[in-house]
């Protein structure tokens, strides 16, 4: 049987969900025996492959670049998982939404006395007005709430995918878990 091709993507999140994935510790070996991590901040590939079976996405969609990457990844992936509260609800990145991107940038980079007052724009993707969850842009196949979801939760989800028992999967997690 060919191994499951897994990718992970890091959008507007703190990397905590990826840390939680690493927190599965020695069970990573079990997973590695049954899936190949073909693209991820944890591996060295630079281009998203033409085809993957499963992609786990951490983070909200906060910029044009995030949105473009998400849309590309959706096209190239069989199953798309929203991993963690930022991907699922917008969570902490979305706390700027009531203010709007412009006002938030001004508050942080110009009106805050301790920093050199300039708004960084060079080589940076433009912020969307709102940081939003993945399902506002593309269909999502599985939502895993949690900030971050526990290593056990992520392991349970991936193990169920490998075993083919992910349909109607009820994970023991919640918003803010």
């Amino acid at each position: 049987m060919s191994k499951l091709r897994l990718a992970t993507l890091w959008l507007d999140g703190c990397s905590g969900c990826h840390m939680s994935l690493l927190d599965t510790d020695e069970r990573l070996l079990e997973l590695a025996a049954q899936m190949d991590i073909v693209y991820s901040p944890l591996v060295d590939t630079k281009q998203f492959p033409e085809r993957v079976d499963v992609v786990c996405i951490e983070g909200a969609v906060s910029t044009e670049e995030d949105e473009a990457r998400l849309r590309l990844v959706r096209q190239r992936s069989g199953l798309l998982i929203a991993m963690g509260d930022c991907a699922v609800t917008g969570n902490v990145p979305a706390m700027r939404n009531p203010l709007g991107a412009e006002a938030m940038l001004r508050a942080v980079y110009r009106e805050s006395p301790v920093l050199a007052p300039q708004i960084p724009i060079e080589d940076l993707p433009r912020l969307h007005g709102h940081a939003l969850p993945l399902h506002r842009f593309v269909p999502v196949d599985l939502f895993i709430p949690g900030c971050p979801p526990a290593a056990d939760t992520l392991f349970a989800a991936l193990a169920a995918l490998i075993a083919g028992t992910a349909d109607g999967l009820r994970l023991d997690t919640r918003f803010g878990a």
Partner: protein, 238 residues
């Protein structure tokens, strides 16, 4: 004094209760759990959240169990696909209406809204969220009101008026613009009627009302204190 005893059917079971009781009370006495949010034992019921909606045979509409008196021979269904769908929608609409960020909330892990979402298997919010710009009133010396997390259950309004007798809290505006206000819309810290008893803080189902200095997940509400206070008051009145 004694109300007549009525017989009815809830979820296919023959039960009975006093004519003065509601569907919610009789269901509870018989071990039938109906989800609630605005209702709190010891306070009057207002029917604000609609989570306790039940089906009553012969009626095309749904009825909030917490404010519906029982009737002789009525047939009540407390759980169905339709009711579950509505309840899931209500909880998601509550999340979408204001800014709920459980990960950084004082009530994380002790929140009734968060727990309802978990219990109903709500793993994302199907509706677009509104992200309104709402204020945090930190003018009180010991407590904070964060409108971002308020679900407008009015438990605070009722506990303050009915148990503490101060009636500091009330509600302004209508519809989507509704907001909890202290003393005819003054900052909480300047509200002359507030005795600082903290009862509202402990009945709040979410992290909207909290003690100052509490960090993420640290706000542990003592909600079950109400029946005790109510019982004491009844004793005194004898």
């Amino acid at each position: 004094m004694s109300a007549p005893i009525l017989t009815l059917t809830i979820d296919g079971r023959q039960v009975s209760g006093l004519a003065s009781e509601t569907v919610l009370q009789v269901a509870k006495e018989n071990g039938i759990a109906i989800p609630t949010l605005c209702f709190l034992e010891g306070l009057s019921a207002t029917g604000a959240c609609r989570l306790c909606m039940v089906e009553i045979e012969g009626s095309p509409r749904l009825h909030p169990a917490c404010v519906t008196p029982i009737q002789e021979g009525m047939t009540v269904t407390t759980d169905s696909k339709r009711l579950f769908g509505y309840r899931r929608a209500i909880v998601q609409l509550l999340f979408s209406e204001r800014n709920h960020v459980c990960a950084v909330c004082v009530a994380n892990g002790h929140c009734e809204l968060q727990e309802l979402a978990r219990a109903f298997g709500i793993d994302h919010i199907a509706f677009p969220c509104r992200h309104p710009a709402l204020e945090v009133d930190a003018s009180h010396s010991r407590f904070v009101l964060d409108h971002n997390r308020c679900v407008l259950c009015t438990r605070c309004v009722r506990v303050c008026g009915e148990i503490e007798g101060a009636h500091t809290w009330d509600v302004k505006n209508r519809g989507i613009r509704i907001q909890i206000v202290a003393d005819l819309d003054t900052p909480w810290g300047a509200a002359a009627t507030c005795t600082g008893c903290g009862k509202c803080v402990h009945v709040c189902p979410t992290g909207a009302l909290a003690e100052k200095g509490k960090s993420m997940a640290e706000m542990r509400q003592k909600r079950p204190f109400l029946p005790y206070l109510v019982a004491n008051r009844a004793e005194e009145r004898k």
